[in-house]
Assembly symmetry: C2
Homo-oligomer: 104 residues x 2
Amino acid sequence: MPVTVIATLKVKPESADAARSILARAVEDVHNEPGCSLYSLHESDGCFVFVEEWSDAEALRAHNAGQAVTRMVEEIGGHLDGAADIIVARPVVAGDPAKGKLRP
Amino acid sequence: MPVTVIATLKVKPESADAARSILARAVEDVHNEPGCSLYSLHESDGCFVFVEEWSDAEALRAHNAGQAVTRMVEEIGGHLDGAADIIVARPVVAGDPAKGKLRP
């Protein structure tokens, strides 16, 4: 079953540009990882949100232990305003699959 | 430009089943609204997350003022454990569009 991750990072006001650059670089790297069907980055007023979908829990484990995340964590640390908020979730099936699934 | 919404609702421990039913019903209704390209529901340990994409800000405004949201807010209120956390965000373009955009 696919695994959804919603990861929210609040950054310091002066760090928005640096954070965007670090996180966008990570997006490029992560798209090449096995089992990644979605790794999208969104921004709102000093807050960045990753919405992710992984093929299964093992792919997510490998991602979390991989080089792209290790590098991102090292680089972003000083820019964060508080701890990242990470939710690992499962889909609730409802409605029209074309609009209700991250990856139909 | 599309608008992304990430809405997180923490529910009372005894309310998970009732909340799931109310929110899944809302998903069905919202999929019929104009400008909705994604309205997906996810669940994790007493926490529900909507990941949404709207065609533009006007479509989101109409959604927020519409019957489905009004009904959902009325029904879910007593089940919530704290206020909903709602982030309205814009996409950060990076990497492979097939994996980096909620709706390629």
